[in-house]
Subunit: 207 residues, 3 copies
């Protein structure tokens, strides 16, 4: 009963994260002067691309978002939101968008690492799969816009995803209970991301 | 007997569509000043990339064009046509190329949607798979040329593929007979594409 | 016993090739002004991307480098080498780097073709899979840097991989013993690549 409530909450959070990422994809399409179809594609890949790559790599085929039509529908709903309420979405404060994006990233990273572990992937690779789930969609989006993926040179973004995924994998390997471990991993990812934005942290580059 | 004749016709059409798309890929390579190997790669991905992505996503592994060597051979034959008869191909009227391309698109979109349905993919996602089959190859081709895929901002192209796929899925769900449904879907895709070219239709963009 | 020694040698060679390719990926990241995470990603995809694409296409899922965490660890070790010893690596003579890269290419091409054949892929496609294994990683690396993959327009690189893979497939189809066939294929790829660099050979392009 409790388990079922937790599952429902997770699904709702997953849908919410998908919607946030889809809006970001749709906004990127609008900025790139793509048409409505382009917005749908960018929303779809931004929201679901990371999970699809993860599922292909861990052998969970067909991927979750191909199996369950609701994810695609939510992605297109996000595209429509970004496309038809473009000027409205642009008025959303950047700090709120960053916060929502960090929440989505945390969710995807943690859930992605847990799913990889369920498919008996080695813990080290499972952490990477958490990272892929979090940043894979944005990477494909940037590629489709013929840009170097921002995640490859921007500040602490993927690193936060990997840190959150790492905590989850560590906790589960230590047989700690799933729920607090999941929450701890997501919180670390979220806080690391937000603090790094506020303090303008970034990773070292070769001088 | 009749069934077998229809199957043979479908295979011949599939090979013809592959050849057309491969020539387009080879021509794009020539324009991008790639070498003969580049032409082979671009022909291969343009002609077969969409179907490969669809097959990976719906779990039809190895993909059809990896299972059946004839597709690859036809793609390379198309590359060679574009490469060695480059000036000849360039003299083909643009309107004829558009027509042949629209025919290939219709075929791929319809066949892709039907295959997804056979693999028990949800009808809504099956329509998307039809679109992916139609435009996926050209998208990878553009990415390899470091360009924003034209399908994301050009006129009514993917939309035509989705419309044709949608009609097929709708018809099959209504238990209408397969052959007329397939022909209807392909025809709608083809006409929508051709009319949109003639009338310079395009999808809305954010102003 | 002998077999086991040969297997160990192959694994060591495979790890060595992975390390070389990873360093190249990390160097590309440094030149592209990516951060440490970007270097890790580029090292990973350069070293392991070709094998991952091959495994997804032939149905060997999860791919080898997802199954075996050592490959990812070696890739990150290569990234760290390129990142932290950047100026040192840059002092390595270009001719030595070309030689090591050609050795890695030969190894990947030959091993990739053999694996495809083991998975009952048609010999013609198995040769292509050898080529994909050899050049796929560098192709993704270039895409992530928003550049047209050099392999599509540069000299005899993929062609050498295909030639080596072709000899292996031909030899195995003729039931010749595996070890000399593998060595012959790798040697042809290696020599063809090195000679083409020294003599500035390149494939024809459309004038």
């Amino acid at each position: 009963m409790l388990r079922s409530k937790a599952d429902t909450l997770l699904l709702v959070l997953d849908f919410a994260g998908t919607y946030i990422f889809a809006i970001e994809g749709g906004m990127a399409a609008a900025h790139g002067h793509l048409d409505l179809f382009g917005a749908m594609v960018l929303a779809f890949v931004t929201a679901l691309g990371g999970g699809i790559i993860r599922d292909l790599l861990i052998g969970a085929v067909p991927p979750n978002s191909i199996r369950n039509w609701r994810y695609g529908a939510i992605a297109f709903f996000g595209a429509a939101t970004a496309f038809f309420f473009h000027s409205l979405v642009q008025e959303v404060p950047a700090s709120l968008l960053t916060l929502l994006d960090a929440a989505g990233l945390s969710l995807f990273a943690v859930a992605g690492a847990e799913k990889a572990l369920e498919y008996e992937i080695h813990p080290f690779i499972a952490i990477l799969m958490g990272g892929v789930t979090g940043v894979g969609g944005g990477t494909i989006r940037d590629l489709l816009l013929a840009e170097v993926p921002t995640v490859l040179r921007a500040d602490v973004y993927a690193t936060a995803a990997l840190a959150g995924a790492g905590i989850v994998i560590l906790g589960l390997r230590l047989k700690l209970p799933r729920t607090p471990v999941t929450i701890a991993g997501g919180t670390v990812c979220f806080l690391l991301r937000m603090v790094s934005v506020w303090l303008h942290w970034s990773l070292p580059t070769v001088k």
